[in-house]
């Protein structure tokens, strides 16, 4: 397609420029001129575009068709729900028969070698869900749920990003996508479904978390008694149940290394200015360090 376009344009430019080069012009009758004009206009102005667009349409319609989430011949495609937030991703694996959903953030694990239906929406403004290596993008619109079908042919890691301008930190809204073999995927999901263990080791950190963080951030199995309900919160932060297993922090801002969470908690407004988490100036560094240390252990 590109080749044809380039050739057509080059020929066109050459023809235009050629008209300036010709010196002698034969005397033509108006009838001859009319005929020459018609030849150009019917050939170039009508036939050329008509042929091109008919070819494009015939070619394009079936390709478009392959992207429609039609019912599969056998079974159902794996369904994963993705919601955009300013400026992070919420990933939800719906539980079967009344099981609770598995919720995570900024790291999308999907099965490879089979079609996956992503049911996408947004919690605030319009975002767009785009894994460039797997296919096209779709907007995530508040109040709507759209299904887009993608397939990773083999296991691997892909970058993904928000592709619709969504405010101050649109740039830093990245998603880490991992495609696993079906068995590995099932194992991962099963592991995530198992209730996390909560030991008493980080009791101070957990108390501080309950006081400062738990109003917005969920950690599965976190004792309700510790959550301070008085904290005003009109936004939702990422679920932190498995934060230790995520490759990055802040939707792609920092690599997850030892001490990264505490660093993030202290400097998140300089690392990602304008993000929705309030600054932690009122919390002393030691507490933040504690919380960070504890959260880093949170792996399924």
């Amino acid at each position: 397609m590109l080749g044809v376009s380039v050739v057509v344009s080059l020929v066109l430019f050459a023809l235009w420029l050629f008209t300036f080069r010709r010196r002698e012009q034969p005397q033509r009758t108006p009838r001859e001129e009319q005929r020459i004009m018609l030849r150009w206009v019917l050939g170039g102005g009508i036939a050329l575009p008509v042929v091109s667009i008919v070819a494009l349409l015939l070619l394009g319609a079936p390709t478009g068709r392959s992207m429609i989430p039609l019912p599969l011949p056998e079974g159902e495609a794996e369904l994963i729900e993705v919601a955009g937030h300013q400026w992070w991703w919420e990933i939800r694996y719906p539980g079967d028969n009344g099981e609770p959903d598995v919720v995570t953030a900024n790291r999308l694990v999907m099965p490879a070698g089979e079609p996956v239906d992503f049911r996408i929406t947004s919690a605030d403004v319009i975002h767009a869900f785009w894994i460039p290596r797997l296919g096209g993008k779709r907007d995530m619109v508040p109040g709507r749920h759209t299904v887009i079908r993608l397939q990773a042919d083999s296991p691997g890691v892909f970058g993904a990003q928000c592709a619709e301008f969504c405010g101050a930190q649109h740039t830093a809204m990245l998603l880490h996508v991992e495609a696993l073999e079906r068995d590995d995927y099932d194992a991962w999901l099963a592991e995530r479904r198992a209730p996390p263990e909560h030991n008493d080791e980080f009791s101070e950190a957990r108390e501080a978390f309950g006081e400062h963080c738990a109003a917005c951030h969920t950690v599965e199995g976190f004792p309700e008694a510790l959550i301070d309900d008085d904290v005003a919160h009109d936004i939702v932060g990422p679920d932190l149940t498995d934060i230790g297993s995520r490759p990055t922090l802040g939707a792609g801002i920092l690599p997850m290394e030892e001490g990264a969470i505490a660093y993030w908690l202290m400097h998140h407004q300089t690392l990602k200015p304008g993000n929705r988490m309030p600054p932690h100036n009122h919390i002393d560094a030691e507490t933040l360090q504690d919380i960070g240390d504890w959260l880093e252990t949170m792996e399924p």
Binding site: L48, M67, D124, G136, K137, G143, R144, T146, A168
Partner: protein, 843 residues
Amino acid sequence: MSDTKDATLTPEVRQLHKGLDEVWGNPKGLRALTVVNHTTIGLRFMVTGAIFFLIGGLLAMLIRTQLAFPDNDFMSPEIYNQVFTMHGTVMMFLFAIPILEGLAIYMIPKMIGARDLVCPRLTAFGYFCYLFGGIILASSMILEIAPASGWFMYTPLSSGEYSPGPGSDFWLLGITFVEISALSAGVELVVSILRTRTQGMALHKMPLFAWYILAMALMIVVGFPPLILGSILLELERAAGMPFFEVAGGGDPVLWAHLFWLFGHPEVYIIFLPGAGIVSTLIPVFAGRPIVGYGWVVAAIIIMGFVSFGLWVHHMFTLGIPQLALAFFSAASMLVAIPTAIQIFVWLSTLWLGRPRMSLPMLWIIGFLVIFVLGGLTGVMLALVPFNWQVHDTHFVVAHMHYVLVGGMLFPLMAGLYYWLPQVSGRMPSERLGKWSFWLIFLGFNVTFLVMHWTGLLGMRRRVFTYDTAMGWDIYNLISSVGGFMMSAGVALLILDIALHFRFGRKAPQNPWGADTLEWAMPKPPTAYNFVSLPKVETRHPLWEQPELSRTIYEGRHGLNTIHHGRRETWGSDALTGKLRETIHLPTNSWWPLFASLALAVVCISLLVRVYWLAAVVALVAVVLLLRWSWENGVHPNVDPEASREPSDPPLHYHTMNGPGVWCMSVSHLANGSLYLSLLFGWFYLWTVAPQWQMPETSPLSMPLLVGAGAALTLGTLLLRKLVNGLRRGEGAGLGLSMYGAGGLGTLQTLLIIAVMWLAELSPTENAHDATLFVALCYVLILSSLGAVLCILQGLRVGYGYVSVELPMEPVVVVRLWYYNLVVYWSLFVAIWVMPTLLGGGA
């Protein structure tokens, strides 16, 4: 070459020139603000547009500086978002459209052999609206509170919750203000082209440029109102909390996208058509022969104008609309390739059959061709949904749209600039500097944007303020930035060239390019009245077939060559045949346009600072000013001290019943109707699509009152119709009384609508259903009160003797408004009362 030299003129002709200068001349000093002449206003439009172009260009350079290196912290993300939003906004709304309007305002009367546009005061009003709107919008940048949601302002990002600052308000109010200007220019350009061509210039004999501008103006008239409505609704949401675009309140953010792109796609063609018009004007001149396939071009223009309205959804391919619907729009987008190709091959065959000469304007035309064709090809690729899904919102799209817009608009504009510069200044620009600036801009442009296609294919999203060096985009971005600065250097050189030419350019001959159209028959620099006398023209190429025209026009040997009556006059001719129908008496310089637009600017600012009572008061003042302005019309003594005329000339327009005012009213209905249809679209769209739409079981509106208001309207319309039919037969008995009667019925309708609103107890801040009803009722309320007020004023004017059997023009205009109101009111009644009642709520 001395066609317009004074030496050989007879004393009578000299007297005529002097008289014309007195009647048409521009005042100096402070009174220069009262000027309404199209030449002056057109130049003001273009100069202001050029200044905004420089501002927009500066913003572009800031963007390229920020993106030149990875992880650059030249700008913070907040500032970067403001900068790219304003770059798009300034370039589209404050540069591209106004400068093309300015060109059309300047050129159209000259090309069709008229002395001015048909509503000169409206021209001035439009300019001030543009100027004030532009200043308001630009001032937000200085205050660092510019809009930052992207130039298409998607909700909910631009709504109160996610953009609490005044940035979005600046955009919504400023742009609406600028759009008022575009609409007024659109209306009068349509009417001027159709009704003020010189004697004999039939529709199919007018210059192609006029066809292009006719299409552009009609597209403005139909295409801008959806965005005006969208802006009003969004501003109502932000200021008053009416949830039109908020899911929880029963609205839908996608409605904004629809309304925006209903305007936004035609906008691209509104910009492209005048550009193509310049190309179609210049190519025949430099090929030295008439354009071949005039009819083909006309057909292509019409097709483009229409089809461009069927494409809006193609900006929303990723919004989750069903594939089949996308396929319709995708196919429609591809259809545009046909009219585009027709034009390109008509131009090619004109060059082929002619003896083209290369010159500076032609160089720009070649540049246009190269860039525009490349942009068109990527456009066809983008029309393909799967490909679009891949590159949508990447730098590929950025590159594509700059190819189309810069290629389709800026390059032809520059060609036109160099072509018409001698007409404006009487001097020739420098070929050498001009060529340098062309090559710098052309190469700089391609360096910037050709590479950017690649950056986009590599996955770089648009509107990111920085990127990681690991992505491998560094070198391409750096190249793009270097290209951008090259282009700026070219623009600087171009400005230098133009500035120098005013001083050092050699004197231009009468018709330096050997052109065929009438603007080259004028003295240089142009006189305010364009032509000393208005010639009969029955060919498409007047100056080629009658080279003596510039001489004979100057010697006053054609029509309307008297001035002792002291009126500004031009001809009104039949839209189709160009036969003379009336002498149009044009209004003179006035303060009203400035005062009215100043009042509107104050309204705009008080809305910005959220002092709503002040806004309401000043809005009322603005209405009064506009009505006062309308009072000075027809045979009002300020306008027409002496209603005499030459016996041979056709009658003055206010003695006829189908004058330009009637046409202006009809074309305004197109704009108004487009606004109304957008509102209906919004109503049905929310009703069927909004996820949480709530509709009460029974309509909250009182049916008897609604029908009563409709009955009053219907009776009033019948009364006016009878009155106008009487005038047509020459019967004027009870004219004033009937007018007061209709005014009374209009008042009754207004009061009944107010009663409906009062009794309905709507809660427009709670849910979108009530909010939409509220806006719809406000709309008919405004229409009915306007109808009433105009009728009462007509009654007064009958008393003053400004309206009578001999002066029947104004009632004909007013009755058209009532017809419009009638259609709107009853159709709205069906939409908001009958259909919900029949289909039931909750649907």
